[in-house]
Point group: C2
Chain length 491, copies 2
């Protein structure tokens, strides 16, 4: 398979699909809309999981696991929730197969029909709150701070690797609190954790904000979001955290005894990020040569490629590389030495560029003589000859620099693509030709939001947390407005 | 809820069920046969996962993720596999729900029927080998060493928490090799990894052996197993590793080009352990007071409980405990300080006994004066007064001692319950009254094995790897036999 990618400027969407497959991140499976996450892609996801899990535990959360299948009737208990979710679910109706009478195939055993259909979880609020009723009795049981790592299924019609798949992996936090204030604080705190992870590990700048009513999670009173911007100027919702009020507590009858002995419904939050972040990671940093990975999430941070003609030269290089590797590992750098003789150096250079390995060392006989190596950066595609003596320290510093540099680059790009507009012609023009976030006044109604979406395909991505109070008029209706919100076309 | 457990001697099965629930490991959910793994239980499972995952990676395996749902037709491709698995599966037939016409409930949307039913994976050989066809072209792509952490569903009729549940969590390794020898070696190697994990982390002695044909995995040419013995004298299959020959390669047409350019089918293995290990862990070590956890898998290794009457005393104790905690953490001991004033020391003692925390420190005003603490061991239920000065070193050593002691205890118990018998009356008598493994000659036929199972409920657990050649006659048929095998009643 050729490693050459379609250029982003030619066809961004095609570039993305090719890159995900060629870099061995994921591929489509024989099951409609479901992907296979390949080892290299999964290794990146594992690093994301590890960091997020640590952050969740540091903020007091524990992991647990709830059933994959949810009785259909559970979904009916929270009215707004069922409207938002029940439509696109995988439904289990039978629990047995049998060999057909002619013995040639297997068929569903019609006698093994479930009395009540089971739904593969599209999200777990209902099954979890059914447990919380048993777990929560008194104020001493609160707050209850639980997270689950799980797979979920949503029967999406149009799917794309990582960005929208019928099955995806995610984590879902579900917490219960004694007071409204505490639950709101939790929802905001987890939005903060997500923003911290996105910016400091994925090197992906995000805007923290609240969703408009239209874009809220089904069953939430408020949804806090982090919104990122991809290189094609489209926004991507990277994580959401919901304040659920007492909706689920009431639907599943979860009450607690206060210190004074009164019975009260508890307050809830839920929050999640998914393998969609993998898509966001790819689209934020990568270029026409392949992936560009932030060092903090790269399964291989530095690859070493020997350049040699003879076996003797390779042996000499191997010896030197062993020293170098020890020094690098002492600094906790994830190193790979690729001295396969089945592939040429040029092939390897292209391969590790495609895979986004942040640093590459090439070392040949001349380098041995000079006690140097050639050190190449993936982010800038620059090379320099450096001494072996302080290669570990140099590499460590460069990894940090790359992490900062790609964040800065993405931030500059993003900031350049936030445009304030004041009338609807300009709104359309910017959306059409420049892309990115359009900062505009909005009259606060769902009708206007719907209308704008119909006319431009843009939705309100969020009402930024740091929004300034500002007199203005709605970009569409000219009704009065007190603040700007961010519109964009989105993934 | 009372913390008192039914005694093991009264009703072992009831003791187990109560313990799992009261120690907050797991509980039944509203979905038939599916459990909720509660935070404390999940924390133990996470430690198991982390150790196993490390071992898999150290032996060259990478993680990946394959779809939850498998097209029905995939199961028909490997004939013996479908017989073994297709019977007890959750079948997805529809992909949408809708609100009923009266608007009162949600119903399956009959217009959203799948053309081909999808099965929730009971195991993933078929979907994985469907991918391997694309991944494997040449000898350079081999060996392919992949593991997956996943949930699976098997529609079990009689379920018990952890031991047999309709959904469970597990890992499944799936490897492909160029030669038969290499695949057999891989299968045996992973059996060794499992035995190492069982004995050195779970402190659970296991017998390594091969399964008889009757007990093999559906589609395997050979199944390597590790068999443990529970305190009620019943055996438990704790992990299996299968040599699959070329069955799946042929069913899914997975060939590779040899160095010489010939096309050959690849050779396969698969291997797995599951949350069933949680049940084995509980039943191997625990007692009438609750869990006994091996220190290497205990989420809390040492708990500190203050004994005080006044707030001033508690403050003094808090200060001292801070010092102690720092010293303990320096030795990587997982410490919890429970200074809640809502619960009495006696309640806490019982609670942490129930939860199997290996070491407990109690500290009161008199201890402060004497620079001592009371140190209690969970495994032996003994206590001693020790100086605070070298408490960290002492605790570290004790944790090691406990790990070794509970393994030794389980090993002695297990060895005591391996009984050689030479005729069928003795066979039945030992099974009925003593329990454990019965070591007996067997004529090697499935018919005899079936007959013995019918008469005694015992199955061949394994043909031990270290079996000695020995002339003898089958315990049932008196046919000639060259070695003893192990029978037992099993979970």
């Amino acid at each position: 398979m050729s490693k050459k990618l379609t250029k982003r400027s030619e066809d961004y969407s095609k570039w993305y699909n090719e890159l995900v497959v060629k870099a061995n991140l994921a591929e489509n499976s024989g099951v409609r809309g479901m992907m296979v996450i390949k080892p290299y892609g999964y290794a990146i996801w594992e690093k994301m999981q590890a960091e997020l899990d640590k952050m969740f535990k540091e903020t007091g959360h524990e992991n647990a696991y709830f059933p994959l299948l949810i009785p259909k009737s559970y979904f009916s208990k929270e009215a707004s929730h069922v409207d938002g979710f029940a439509k696109e679910c995988a439904v289990v109706t039978h629990y047995r197969l049998k060999t057909s009478e002619d013995g040639k195939e297997i068929v569903v055993d019609e006698s093994a029909k479930l009395e009540e259909e089971l739904i593969i979880r599209p999200t777990s609020e209902t099954i979890i709150w059914d447990s919380y009723r048993k777990w929560i009795q008194s104020y001493r049981d609160l707050p209850l701070l639980i997270n689950q790592w799980a797979n979920v299924v949503r029967w999406e019609m149009r799917t794309r690797l990582f960005l929208r798949t019928a099955e995806f992996l995610w984590q879902e936090g579900h917490t219960a609190h004694a007071t409204r204030e505490e639950a709101v604080e939790e929802a905001k705190k987890m939005q903060g954790v997500y923003a911290n992870f996105a910016e400091n590990f994925m090197a992906m700048p995000v805007i923290k904000g609240e969703k408009s009513e239209n874009e809220r999670f089904a069953g939430a009173l408020n949804t806090y979001t982090i919104e990122a911007l991809m290189q094609d100027g489209k926004a991507l919702q990277a994580g959401t955290s919901h304040f659920l009020g007492q909706n689920f507590a009431k639907a599943f009858d979860v009450k607690y005894a206060t210190k004074e002995g009164k019975q009260e419904y508890v307050w809830a939050t839920s929050w999640g990020v998914s393998t969609r972040l993998m898509g966001a990671l790819v689209m934020t940093h990568s270029d026409d040569y392949g992936l560009v990975l932030p060092p903090k999430l790269a399964p291989i941070q530095l690859v070493i490629v020997p350049i040699h003609r003879t076996d003797e030269q390779l042996e000499e290089i191997n010896k030197k590389v062993e020293e170098i590797t020890i020094a690098l590992r002492k600094k906790d750098i994830l190193v790979k030495y690729d001295n396969r003789t089945t592939h040429k150096p040029g092939w390897k250079f292209a391969e590790y560029e495609l895979k986004g390995v942040p640093l590459r060392i090439a070392i040949g006989p001349r380098d041995l003589e000079n006690n140097t190596v050639e050190l190449a950066r993936r982010d800038t595609l620059t090379k320099e000859t450096v001494s072996i003596d302080n290669i570990a320290k140099k590499s460590k510093n460069l990894l940090e620099e790359i992490q900062n540099n790609i964040f800065k680059k993405a931030l500059d790009f993003r900031d350049e693509l936030i445009t304030e507009v004041n009338d609807f012609e300009e709104f359309k023009e910017v959306l059409e030709n420049k892309g990115g976030f359009v900062s505009a006044h909005w009259d606060g109604t769902s009708e206007t939001e719907d209308q704008i979406k119909k006319l431009t395909k843009a939705t309100i991505r969020c009402i930024p947390l740091d929004v300034k109070e500002e007199e203005g008029v709605c970009v569409l209706t000219k009704e009065k407005s007190s603040k700007r919100v961010l519109f964009a076309k989105a993934y």
